[in-house]
């Protein structure tokens, strides 16, 4: 049977940003009446590919064909005119306007410059009915549930006779029932002949709705598969891949599993949980132990870590530090218990970009001393210089603005900030993401060394190899739940992947 003409055909796509090759010779196609999932971990190039398709970015090489004809969109508006519509992850709507206004924003039916409210409302109702949504279209959008808002965004995208609909993480803020409703809409749009590009981190949803999937990794095409021909484990393997064995020479200087198991329990969480964050879990962390958290993006890794530090406060369960019941309500409480948390969002939750390297490094220590007991300038310089040297921060200038440093060096500045507080528990959320391989190795070596010095480390990384190499114990999360805690003895990446993908209780 000859394959029908693809609605979208992209080939040889190459896109380069300064210093990063975001897409390298990527091919991609979509057929009408099909849901196509685009899969890959962070930094795989999914967003870039979507932005190339929707005209936000131009390409450095390669061709895009829409319905057989070559196109080169110079902007999202043009792409939309041609029938390629996008609904982004964060709903880009105006919550203070009515549903109808949101659906028709920018293309309101007019007569003599006046908006015709009646026809506008009818048009919005029709479009929403197509999605099986029946709400009062004159209600303010903010009064609707997130799911309805998401559907309004889709209705808005469909208003321009879309033939290709791109849904970027449409379900990330929906609950189970709402996800079902959305998937139903996606299926019915497929029946209507649209080509739908579905991006989601939720493996279940992808398998429930997609007909075909394309996997990207590090800007390269890994392959295109029919959903029926691939299992969740295979998919996750392809998404994560096998990493270069950079650290084969990592000296085995850390304490052994038996040693840390015998060490006193430093922090003990019991049924700790937070609604919408992570379901209640129990976890003991021993002094000197490295606990790895494994799970796909959105599985609750970060949420778990934030509870252990006090970045968010738990709404259930309890925490004991050194056996004593404590309340980690604020980061300050965590800091007072000598817990440190390196956020995965360097820019928004870590750095104060307009301050210098020195100022960023001393910030947490100064905060714990209070404003009235300043670190002398000499002491600050001493600390900054010492850590610039130890961690090899470049440029080696304490007065450089931190916003001007590269990602890896920024990460080291933040590491230094926490190390000088001499934490007993160091929580590292994706410390090696987006930094070069050299810095990566240094950070991993540092973790081993800190653990040997008796510091407990909770290590989060999307790279399983990394987690397995460093951890004494691996905690696996899936869909915001701890599904397994396993000693890292003879544990392989495949075992962990299977648990991540299928949630098999070990």
């Amino acid at each position: 049977m000859p394959e029908p003409q693809p609605m979208v055909r992209m080939s040889g796509i190459r896109k380069e940003f300064p210093g990063v090759l975001a897409l390298d010779d990527v091919a991609f196609r979509m057929f009408p009446g099909e849901v196509h999932a685009l899969m890959g971990e962070n930094g795989a190039g999914k967003s870039t590919l979507i932005k190339v398709l929707t005209g936000v970015y131009g390409v450095d090489a390669g061709t895009i064909e829409l319905n057989g004809g070559a196109v080169a969109f110079s902007g999202p508006g043009e792409a939309q005119q041609a029938g390629v519509s996008t609904v982004y992850q964060e709903v880009n709507l105006c919550p203070n306007l009515s549903v109808a206004e949101n659906v028709c924003l920018g293309r309101e039916p007019r007569r003599f410059g006046r908006i015709q409210w009646g026809p506008m409302r009818r048009r919005a109702e029709e479009l929403l009915a197509r999605l099986d949504v029946h709400v009062d279209v004159s209600a303010e959008l903010s009064t609707c549930s997130i799911a309805v808002q998401q559907l309004v965004a889709i209705a808005r995208a469909l208003d321009v006779d879309a033939r290709v609909l791109v849904l970027d993480e449409p379900t990330s803020s929906l609950d189970t029932g709402e996800v079902e409703q959305l998937l139903k809409v996606v299926r019915s749009l497929r029946e209507q002949g649209l080509a739908i590009l579905f991006v989601s981190h939720f493996i279940d949803q992808v398998f429930a709705v997609a007909d075909r999937m394309t996997v990207l990794r590090n800007g390269k095409l890994i392959g295109e598969y029919r959903t029926a021909d691939i299992t969740p484990v295979e998919l996750v393997t392809k998404m994560i891949g096998k990493e270069l064995r950079v650290l084969e020479t990592l000296e085995d200087s850390g304490p052994t599993r038996a040693e840390v198991a015998g060490a006193p329990v430093l922090l003990s969480a019991e049924d700790l949980g937070r609604k919408g964050g992570v379901e209640p879990f129990s976890l003991d962390v021993h002094a000197g132990e490295v606990v790895g958290l494994a799970g796909l993006l959105g599985s609750g890794r970060t949420e778990l870590a934030r509870l252990l530090f006090g970045a968010d406060h738990a709404d259930s369960g309890s925490v004991r530090v050194d056996g004593e019941l404590t309340n980690l309500r604020t980061p300050r409480a965590g800091l007072d218990h000598r817990i440190a948390f390196l956020s995965e969002n360097r820019k928004s939750e870590g750095l104060v970009e307009e301050l210098t390297v020195r100022e960023n490094i001393v910030l947490a220590l100064q905060a714990s001393r209070g404003w009235a007991r300043p670190l002398s300038r000499r002491r600050q310089d001493e600390i900054a210089r010492k850590y610039i040297e130890t961690l090899d921060i470049r440029p080696a200038d304490p007065e450089a603005l931190v916003g001007n440093l590269s990602g890896g060096n920024q990460q080291k500045v933040l590491l230094a900030r926490w190390l000088i507080t001499e934490p007993r528990l160091l929580i590292l959320d994706e410390p090696t993401r987006g930094i070069d391989i050299g810095a990566k190795t240094e950070i991993q070596r540092l973790v081993t060394q800190l653990s040997a010095d008796g510091m407990a480390v909770v290590y989060i990384s999307a790279e399983l190899e990394e987690v397995l190499r460093l951890s004494h114990r691996v905690v696996v999360l899936r869909d915001r739940k701890v599904v397994a805690q396993r000693e890292n003895q003879g544990l392989t990446a495949d075992d962990v992947m299977a648990t991540m993908a299928e949630g098999v209780q070990a």
Partner: protein, 351 residues
């Protein structure tokens, strides 16, 4: 250290230039502008007047700088000026004249200012109300409070000790100048010798990162509003003492706008973070010099506002990197940047 000094210089360069140009203009227009006389052991002259009349604005600008550094703003300073002046004048007029009465009046007025600052800080730091709205409440209500205190009348006072703070002299200099100088020095020492400055800049630069680094940002925020109100309280005493009366309706009217302007002209951005107290003082002096210039040059009163606006616009344009780049021309419009160009912001699909 040299890099930091260079940066500060750079930031204050244009405001200082503007101030000098303005003074130079004054000198050309009226050669006696810079003349300073010593009469009865007191210094008189336009330059002294600028400093003396600018003292309240300098004080408020110092307080406002710290508030703005935390990404906040305090619109209520004008009302605090009125309240502080009204309460002090009321006490002085109701009690026998004397240094004791004056000191009690100062204490009461500053105590009340402190409370008003606590109120602003509570709304912003604890309740999380947007600063512009939170302080708008006191901006509006404060005039009413001042009227209640003064009974709707303009209270005139005749107390030598009270008037000192507005028009007295010490070491041949007007007392107001010395007080403003003292507050500036103390505030500078406080923020730069303690860790307060760094913590305030961190909170303003990135509130969430600061919280996660363990800063008690709410407490800091609270503190800066209290400090700002205190500065406004002192300014209120100066203003009322200078005119020997408390006018609930007009004392400190629109001074919040001048103060915000002074802060911004002085190189502290409304988006918070890095701040410069020295810059705020320069900014305040620039604005006061403008006012004095206008009178000295005999510019018609109806053109004063416009003249002020033009000068401020010029300073703001000179400070804008985009504008300076345009001035310098095309070939230097794209300076070689050491960092990689940021990826374009997410573009919204719009029709």
């Amino acid at each position: 250290m040299t890099a930091l000094t260079g940066l500060t210089k750079h930031r204050l360069f244009w405001p200082v230039v503007a101030l000098l140009v303005l003074l130079l203009g004054d000198l050309i227009a009226s050669p006696s502008f810079f003349k300073i006389e010593l009469r009865d052991g007191h210094l008189y002259g336009n330059l002294v007047d600028i400093l003396k009349n600018g003292a309240p604005l300098i004080l408020i600008a110092i307080g406002m700088t710290l508030v703005i550094a935390t990404r906040g703003i305090d619109l209520s300073v004008g009302s605090v000026v009125a309240i502080s002046g009204a309460l002090a004048c009321l006490w002085v007029s109701d009690n026998p004249d004397g240094v004791g009465t004056t000191l009690v009046a100062f204490g009461l007025a500053l105590g009340l200012s402190l409370l008003l600052g606590v109120w602003n800080g509570w709304l912003v730091a604890v309740l999380g109300i947007q600063p512009i709205i939170a302080t708008l409440i006191l901006m509006v209500a404060g005039r009413g409070i001042a009227q209640l205190i003064s009974g709707g009348q303009i209270i005139t006072v005749n107390s030598h000790s009270f008037e000192w703070i507005g028009s007295g002299f010490l070491f041949t200099l007007p007392g107001a100048i010395l007080i403003a100088l003292a507050v500036f020095v103390l505030a500078s020492l406080l923020v730069r010798r303690s860790a307060l400055g760094l913590l305030v800049e961190a909170v303003g630069g990135n509130p969430e990162a600061s919280r996660l680094a363990g800063l008690r940002s709410a407490r800091l925020t609270w503190l800066v509003y209290v400090f700002c109100a205190l500065c406004a309280g002192i300014a209120g005493l100066m203003i009322s003492a200078n005119v020997h009366s408390a006018d609930a309706n007009h004392a400190g009217l629109f001074i919040e706008l001048d103060a915000i302007l002074a802060v911004v002209v002085g190189g502290t951005q409304l988006t918070g973070g890095r701040f410069s107290l020295g810059g705020a003082v320069i900014g305040a002096l620039l604005i006061q010099t403008l006012t004095t210039t206008v009178y000295a040059l005999g510019i018609p009163p109806e053109a004063i506002m416009l003249f002020k606006a033009v000068v401020v616009l010029a300073v703001c344009l000179l400070q804008s990197p985009a504008f300076r780049r345009k001035l310098r021309g095309r070939q230097r419009a794209h300076p070689v940047s050491p960092e990689p160009a940021p990826a374009p912001e997410k573009v919204e699909v719009g029709a």
